[in-house]
């Protein structure tokens, strides 16, 4: 459904992405792992044109675009098919939870207001915030804000949701509620591309795991392939660092 070919991106002289390929089918939950600075977030941002890639192609269903010189129309079309969940939530501070969710529906997708509100309430119910419709982001905890962020993405009913380290800015005790919501929507068959440092999520939920380092895909496979029998030395080293010492025991 989504195919990325040979994507390159540099910031100044610093080459972040050195030719990454990616392929996602409908219903996949693809998790990208890797150390900081490996280009995971940049890859995600280039897919949604929050950064402009230097080169590369994307095939999105029957839509084919060049990631470097896509037209405004193409960018709009891709954004209609995707939704993005940000590390820092990026909720609209001047809008209530329900307005955050309906904004893209009413303004971006021209859905009638009453329908949008019904969709928005359903999305907020799904993430367990049925009592927070009219709260402003300043009145919500980090975990609640991120759940609104996920509801905002889910409500758009996109072909794929891109998650950029959705739990990295959260207090440890709030991570669980967000991961639970993500697991639930994954189980509903939502196609997801997730950059995360949550190994448990990758192990339990991912249908496909990609390990990136230094701007390239080092290794990819099922979560079992990556976590139990990694082939590349870099992958092994990384897993040793991020997993508990007795991880062999866990598995």
């Amino acid at each position: 459904m989504l195919k990325i070919n040979d994507i390159h991106k540099s910031f100044g002289k610093n080459e972040i992405l050195k030719g990454v390929d990616l392929s996602i089918d409908k219903g996949d939950v693809v998790v990208i792992l890797g150390p900081s600075g490996s280009g995971k977030t940049t890859l995600l941002r280039c897919i949604n044109f929050l950064e402009r890639a230097d080169s590369g192609n994307a095939t999105f269903g029957d839509l084919q675009v060049n990631l470097h010189d896509a037209s405004k129309k193409d960018i709009h079309a891709i954004r209609q098919k995707t939704a993005f969940v940000f590390q820092n939530y990026n909720l609209f501070n001047n809008k209530t939870a329900i307005e955050n969710v309906t904004e893209g529906l009413i303004i971006g997708r021209k859905i009638p207001k009453a329908d949008a509100i019904a969709i928005g309430k359903k999305a907020l119910d799904k993430v367990g915030l049925s009592d927070k419709y009219d709260s402003y982001p300043s009145q919500l905890s980090g975990g609640q804000q991120q759940r609104v962020g996920i509801a905002r993405a889910v409500a758009l009913n996109p072909d794929i949701i891109l998650f950029d380290e959705p739990t990295s800015a959260l207090d440890p005790e709030l991570v669980g509620e967000v991961l639970t919501v993500m697991k639930n929507i994954a189980n509903e068959g939502t196609t997801m591309l997730v950059v995360t440092h949550e190994m448990s999520f990758a192990k339990d939920v991912a249908s496909h795991v990609i390990f990136m380092d230094g701007g390239v895909v080092v290794e990819e496979g099922s979560s079992h392939d990556i976590f139990v029998s990694p082939k590349e030395e870099r992958t092994k080293k990384f897993l040793k660092r991020v997993l508990p010492e007795d991880y062999t025991f866990y598995i």
Partner: protein, 237 residues
């Protein structure tokens, strides 16, 4: 020689000064109507580093900010008629430049100077809105224009409001310099009234009072509006 203040004159002149308020407000409002959109657009050119325009606004701001308004008034009041009369002579337009109402010069001077101030006000206010707000808006399918109108400007405005209020109050006070180009505003009217009997102290007290009442009312209005704008920040659960 009478002792103390001439209270009758004090009270009469208060109303004379008050009769200058409409002109003062008219100049203020016209200047704001020009400066608010222009200042906002030029602030955008600075934030987005638009070539040429970005440089223009930077130089413009330092020129206007770096010169006293009274000098700007003298320059406009002296040079614009010269330029106009050259222009009119050349194209045989039969208008006497010295019949032009000085309010037009006031519009020009105060619009220009307020624009410079508001460029900086908007630039600082816009930079307080996190870049993520724009990205989030784009990611849910809003155009840049929609994102600015619905998400970014409402948030920037809250930050800008106290400074816009200051700029407005400063502008009201600055219009008192309009007397230098015989603009019929508060200061000029009271001063003229004082000329006849040398009651300057009374006239200055009246001017003082009129400005402080006017500016307090404007400040109060801004405060109410600001409170409404920022309710999302302190809303109780």
């Amino acid at each position: 020689m009478s002792e103390g203040l001439n209270y009758t004159f004090l009270i009469d002149t208060f109303f004379v000064a008050l009769s200058g308020v409409p002109i003062t407000l008219f100049v203020t409002i016209v200047a704001l109507l020009v400066a608010l959109p222009l200042g906002f657009l030029l602030a955008l050119t600075r934030i987005n580093q638009v070539p040429v325009l970005n440089w223009f606004s930077r130089i413009y701001v330092s020129f206007v900010r770096g010169t006293p308004i009274i000098i700007q008034i003298f320059i406009v009041y002296a040079s614009v008629p010269l330029i106009l009369s050259l222009f009119f002579n050349r194209y045989n337009i039969n208008i006497n430049v010295y019949d032009i109402n000085p309010i037009w010069y006031a519009f020009i001077v105060f619009s220009f100077s307020t624009t410079a101030i508001l460029i900086e006000v908007f630039r600082s206010a816009l930079s307080t809105v996190n870049k993520g707000q724009l990205e989030a808006a784009q990611s849910v399918g809003l155009s840049n224009f929609q994102a600015y109108r619905r998400i970014i400007i409402p948030q920037a405005l809250v930050v800008a409001m106290p400074n816009i209020c200051t700029a407005t109050v400063n502008l009201i006070k600055a219009t008192s310099l309009g007397y230098a180009m015989s603009l019929q505003e508060i200061t000029l009217k009271a001063k003229v009234a004082a000329n006849a009997g040398y009651n300057y102290v009374e006239a200055y007290i009246d001017i003082f009072l009129v400005y402080i009442i006017l500016c307090s009312l404007v400040e109060y209005g801004f405060k109410l509006y600001e409170k409404r704008l920022r309710r999302y920040k302190y809303a109780s659960a």
